[in-house]
Symmetry: C2
Subunit: 188 residues, 2 copies
Amino acid sequence: MLKVTSPIILASKSPRRQELLTLMGLNFSVELKDVDESYPENLSAPEIAVYIAEKKAKAFDANPNAIIITADTIVAINGEILGKPKDHNEAQQMLGKLSGNKHEVYTGVSINHQGKIISFYDQTEVFCRVLNMEEINYYIDNYQPFDKAGSYGVQDWFGLTVVERLNGSYTNVMGLPTEKLYQYLLKI
Amino acid sequence: MLKVTSPIILASKSPRRQELLTLMGLNFSVELKDVDESYPENLSAPEIAVYIAEKKAKAFDANPNAIIITADTIVAINGEILGKPKDHNEAQQMLGKLSGNKHEVYTGVSINHQGKIISFYDQTEVFCRVLNMEEINYYIDNYQPFDKAGSYGVQDWFGLTVVERLNGSYTNVMGLPTEKLYQYLLKI
């Protein structure tokens, strides 16, 4: 059983990550740092997710006691990275790419504890049905997916009516691979 | 886009099914009928799920206007069907079987509309890590999974820390394959 005695700090403003950590049965506080989320161009999708999660972890001073958890989620399709859409047009383009295709979701996670940073990632394949433009506009207008990599949430209308199936972890697509995180926390 | 003009009736007391239908953006009311959930012994797991969903649908009188949705979820492991556990011991046995193994979840769905009943099912493979007895007892004592086929909920502590990955629909494991249901409702 997981018995964490150190205080846990989640460095993420994502309500989905906060909800998942709560459902894992963990007590935590939220602390945010401003981090530049740029990355070197030569990195692969999982390397980007881990690189940014580690950048977020390094933004915290070494804290001998607390367990600081950071994460970054990346959507990749045919080798192209989809970040958070800037506006309606970019969301439209991203959702058009996801329509009728498979894409991959990578979440990198870093744990900053006792002067060490441990990082890992998880990968999930996501298969979407074909969407028409009316559906794409309906979704953007009603769900405003501008805070989400790839312009969608797996837990909202899109996940329920467009995502046909997953291969991998569901919570990884939500933004935090809880099963792997649990195993890493067990080892602390 | 899905525009349902007939009133939808969900014949299920499962709060998870009610939540999923709401997240699909549908308005509905809940109406329950008592149905004997026994089934012929020679049926396969997906046949059982559809058989019981149809039994639930047939319990309603033909209603020319409403769309009545019923569902039944079945967990199968190595050819054995796991229903809802009667007590702590049975839950312990079921979770022991799931530990370290793959199992399948089948949800049968029936739509009773304009004198016809249309049925379908979806299948998801679920892979669980090894659980120890302390974890099994912790889960049963704290989550009381007695209303759930297979003794677990994919959306609670079990799904988040024990389920390593899925192959198929996540909402099917929750109890309602929303992507397929959406496609069937589009055709009405």
